[in-house]
Amino acid sequence: MITVTLFLPLLGALLLVVLPLRGERSLRVAAGLVALAPLVLLMVVWSRFKGTGTFEQIESAPWIPTLGASYMVGVDGLSLALAAMTALLFFAAIIYPVDWRGKPKAYFALFLFLETASLGVFLSLDLLLFYVFWDLSLVGMYFLIGVWGHGEAARRSALKFFLYTLAGSLVMLLGVLSLYLSTAPHTFDMRHLIATRPLDGTGLAATLTFSGFALAFAIKAPLVPFHTWLPPAHVDAPAPASTILAGVLLKMGTYGFVRILLQMMPQTFSRLALPVAILALVSVVYGALVALAQQNVKRRIAYTSVNHMGYAILGIAAAAAILPGLGGGFTQTRSLALTGATVEMVAHGLITGALFLMTGSLWRRADTYEISELGGLARRAPIFTGLAAVAAFASLGLPGLAGFVAEFQIFVGGFPVYPWLIALALLGLIITAALFLNLLQRVFLGPLPERWQEFRDLDRGEIVSLAMLIAFVVVIGVAPGWLLAVIDSFVRPLVTR
């Protein structure tokens, strides 16, 4: 089932290339149908999910037995939540209208290829397989930004993105090899690495390996000061690609922090948790402040990603800081912090994904991202305004929406561990609130400039995509139980181990 989920988009991409489909409309329908399939299949996987605390529904096949690498996929609470979010986001992004530049076939094929790569990162249970999908996601995104991005600048942004994140992933490859070489007999099996933790503790090798992985994930997440690839890539990418970049690719960094660093090297992590937490705090505050200063809608949203991923990693670091048995009594707070971080990953994917899709609608109509050129759009586009307002409020952490559920838990769980850092991180909340309210006010309220008199509201296709994402944002905000149950099945065994 998971294998089918994983490779259906790739198969669909090949079919799109081969079949004599022409025209943007028919290609969009076909690609949308293909992208719907993994979403449905993952719902089936979700319904069969038992929450045993270990990996479930495992499927495997020999791949490179001589090297101890195999094809193995499966889910636990963490990967199921992220994979489901990924499939949802891809469906919304693929059907979203955009300027296809006369190459719709390549666009949809590449997007579906990227979906397989992204799902693969979360579903792989073999470290080498994980790395393969991780790198493939870079290739897909590089071409999406380069070919369908905005103008000359997009090529530079695409290259910068590719170089920067490839540097990260190759450093990670050294870490992967280091973990691999520490097992006997050598294996890339993630379950084995989690169970035996062959390279954990305070040694030089463990510290170096941890640092390599942490650098790779910090680039991907991104944490300040490794974030400089992100703003140009986000701004110059076509809107659906920005959505995937923010919603899915950034999560690979935080996912790595949990899956590899927290699960395979917890002792090393606990020793180095403070520096990681400080970097996360810097990202929270710096990301929010820089976002506040941006006069370009897309740049502003891009920097809020730095801020939000900072929260997630702050939560992860807080959960890593104390080991059971050493700290005692902290099980509850660690569990809260980690659950919050995981919800933040899902929530940020949905919220920021929706926000970036909206910037695409803006670009299609206004051909600009400059806040100063916009204004009063609420009068012409009430639906657009309404959806944007909900997404913005969710992003700034309004209770009753998904972002609040995440951040509240991170703060409550992290406070006993790092009271000062958490106190400072609250600043980020205030700044984010200011920057989003300012954005809403200047884009949608006030007088309507003459040139936007003909501004069209969202069309049906756009509304479907956005409403779907916003609906989940609201549901998670109001009744998060179903999601928390799945995440908890992963968090509880981890913190009590």
Binding site: P62, W63, I64, P65, T66, L67, L128, Y131, V132, D135, L136, L138, V139, F143, G146, V147, A154, R155, A158, L159, F162, L163, L166, A167, L170, V171, L173, L174, L177, S178, Y180, L181
Partner: protein, 484 residues
């Protein structure tokens, strides 16, 4: 050990006979039938590659080797190794030769001397595969000279082209110098050990003085560095890649390198581990080679020079396997796999150049994805394989090379190789960018060489296939030892 079975040499004999046959037919065939020589040469190579690949099976029944390695043995009084690595290298070199023959058909179609070209190509391939099996100093020198002498002529084959001639002169001068140095080194080894056979050299060398030993192996390494394009004897590579006929460039940047790296492995494993210091020196050479090749490639606006410099950097990566030799069981399988991936990538990339009738300037690649989507895809696969993007073959090659290097305690070299890989993406992407992101300036009238395009696509497909089927190579080489 002292077996002297002619059947061990069927691939070599096939090439020898084939090249003579081609030479004779080139003399007597009328000019319009000259392309027949390509078919003859291809047939020869096919026979040789089948013979090489079936050697283990045919030997299993006959030869009684040791229990661990029933068919691997040293033939001809210990001077010629028949082991998995030699056979793998032969298969790689001969496959490359076959692909290069396919590339040459159209390129040399109007050349009246094309028959001689194919004969020389077969001789050059013979030199390369003999290098891979050489287990004796004289054998090594012989193979080196055969491969070099034919190489010079092949590079200069467009005798009216100044660039071709210039490249050949440069190739020849550097080759003469380094081959001379190697001969001197071989003489020193003979003086130190009283023998030229690798298997008999190890024991006396342990008693040799450090200084003469270092002098001797340095001179031999310089000679081999020329063949593989490593610092300090790398300078010919970009010129040859740029100036030689494009199919020849594809051949000489790959085939001699494969053979020479195997004989280098055999040679250093004879040297005593302590005191001689070869491991550190090779590590330094690897580091310099990969870094220099990558930095020089950054500014190339000509795809052939770019491929030349990237070939230098790839040599640097391959040398990591020599550094890890004997310390990591992964080293030699990784080397073979990496060489196979490198060979396919290089031949594939040159095949794109040949298919586009020698088009080389970067700006002329703009919009290739629109005008020639399949060629663009093939070139992309080759480039991404060089970078080491999974699941292409180049990835598993680099992965295992890095693993072997870390395993051998040379983590710094692996870190440097990683930095270099990132750097290499920059120059490959300088070509990929215009290919995909720009529109073609105008319709170029030149027709496409369809055979070469086929070679490009086959190479790219093989890179994907080899990448997915990594285990075939590694399980085949899992329990092999390098004979010496």
């Amino acid at each position: 050990m002292s077996g002297m079975t002619v059947s061990d040499l069927i691939p070599e004999l096939a090439l020898l006979v084939g090249s003579v046959v081609v030479l004779i037919s080139a003399l007597f065939l009328p000019r319009r039938l000259q392309p027949m020589n390509a078919a003859l040469a291809l047939l020869t190579v096919v026979i040789a590659v089948v013979a090489a690949a079936s050697l283990p099976a045919s030997l299993k029944s006959g030869f009684q080797g040791s229990a661990m390695h029933p068919w691997q043995h040293l033939s001809f009084s210990g001077t010629y190794a028949i082991d998995s690595f030699a056979i793998a290298a032969k298969v790689i070199v001969l496959s490359v030769t076959a692909l290069v023959i396919a590339l040459s058909v159209d390129w040399f179609r109007s050349d009246p001397r094309q028959g001689e070209y194919y004969a020389l190509l077969l001789m050059s391939a013979l030199g390369a595969i003999t290098l891979a099996g050489a287990a004796d100093m004289m054998e090594m020198v012989l193979a080196m000279l055969l491969s070099s002498a034919t190489g010079y002529v092949l590079v200069a084959f467009h005798r009216k082209s100044r660039r071709s001639a210039e490249a050949a002169i440069k190739y020849y001068l550097l080759g003469a110098l380094t081959n001379g140095a190697m001969l001197y080194g071989v003489a020193l080894f003979f003086g130190l050990s009283g023998t030229t056979v690798f298997s008999d050299m190890a024991a006396p060398l342990r008693l040799a003085g450090a200084l003469p030993l270092v002098a001797a192996w340095s001179l031999v390494v310089v000679g081999l560095a020329f063949k593989i394009g490593a610092v300090p004897a790398h300078a010919w590579l970009p010129d040859v890649a740029d100036g030689a006929p494009a199919p020849v460039a594809a051949f000489v940047t790959v085939a001699p390198k494969v053979g020479a790296l195997i004989v280098l492995a055999r040679f250093v494993s004879v040297l005593p581990e302590d005191g001689a210091g070869w491991r550190v020196v090779i590590a330094a050479v690897a580091a310099l080679t990969m870094t220099l090749g990558n930095i020089a490639a950054l500014w190339q606006d000509d795809i052939r020079r770019l491929l030349g410099w990237s070939a230098v950097s790839q040599t640097g990566y391959a040398l990591m396997a020599i550094v890890a030799l004997g310390r990591s069981s992964l080293a030699l399988p990784a080397l073979i796999y990496f060489l196979a991936a490198y060979a396919l990538g290089n031949v594939g990339a040159f095949a794109v150049v040949v298919a586009l009738r020698g088009r080389a300037k970067r700006e002329r690649y703009a919009g290739l994805a629109r005008s020639h989507p399949w060629l663009a895809a093939a070139l992309t696969v080759c480039f991404l394989s060089f970078v080491g993007i999974p699941p292409l073959a180049g990835f598993a090659g680099k992965l295992t090379l890095f693993g072997a290097t870390i395993d051998a305690g040379y983590t710094w070299l692996a870190v440097l190789a990683v930095l270099n890989s990132v750097l290499s993406l920059a120059y490959y992407a300088r070509f990929l960018g215009p290919i995909y992101f720009d529109e073609a300036p105008e319709q170029s009238g030149a027709s496409m060489d369809r055979t070469a395009a086929g070679v490009a696509i086959v190479s790219a497909a093989a890179l994907v296939g080899l990448g997915l089927g990594t285990d075939i190579v590694f399980s085949a080489l899992a329990n092999s030892v390098l004979l010496r």
